[in-house]
Amino acid sequence: MSKKRSRLDIIYTILGLVREHNNSIRPTPLLRYTNISSQSFSEYFSELREKGFVREELDRKGRKYVSLTDKGFKFLEKYRILKGFIEEFEL
């Protein structure tokens, strides 16, 4: 049985998915790939937007796309160190 993902793991998954899709993905497939409930996803997504990790952009047809900000890329770079730190000190 797979272990329950931590909050930090879910954030990493969401941001990682955006990066894997050439830094541009629509919210619905992002929700599907993330594999969490839509309510949880909207909570995580709002938090990531408020903290400035992701931004929403509109294409010419007015469709919403999600992309990473510089802060989002930095988070992905430092994820392992951050996870190690947070686990070490039980934060």
Partner: protein, 247 residues
Amino acid sequence: MPPTRMQGIPQALPGMHRFFQGPPLEMLATELLYFAVVVSICLIIYFRTRELYSVSQHKGLFHFRNVFLYFAAAYSLRLLQLVFQLSSEVLEITPWRGFSIVLPLVSYFSTLAILSLPMALMAARFKQTILRETIALHLTAFVSLLLVFATGSQALLLLIQSIVLLASVLAIFMAPKQAKHKFLSQNRVTYLLLAAFWVVNLLALTKRLLPMELKLALYPLSAIVFVSLFLRVRKRLPSNVKKKKQA
């Protein structure tokens, strides 16, 4: 007759001779050394974890860093209070009335530091925003400041901090543990020691209830807790992890 240590001290400074009799000066040197070690470690931890926090905006990390910022302020103000007490006793001068704010400020930062310890462990599980949690902590600390300010009592400061410590100890051990950590993990014991040493340190303010011999034993122990925590933090910082990988 052999010369005494008091010879040569101008008579124009009444009470000054007591400065040269030993204990107060030794006490001040011990306090200064202890202050320098603890406060510098606290500030180094606070500033060197800034990058990790700015990258993650993690709530637990926010409170963890603040523990050290508040402890740095509390230890600095404690030293200031001790210097005022010593100078008023040794030099027999009445301290400026404005100094009466120092003790309530010690209470304020002390409450913040002790309460931030369990917050660091639990905050990630709370749904409250950082702002709300911070306001709640500051309001609690402000109540302790008002109580100490109104009474000016060092005994009350000690009582309040003991109650805050007790509440924190309960919260630290009730905080949900992560799978890989034991109930009595190294972290929880360290957090407990940080808070406990601080409250015992406050005894030094309350009319010197703490004998010099006990201080000499207590201060190195307390400094060891801070140093060991600093070494663990240092090992986990991005700059050190990168160096290890390169090696």
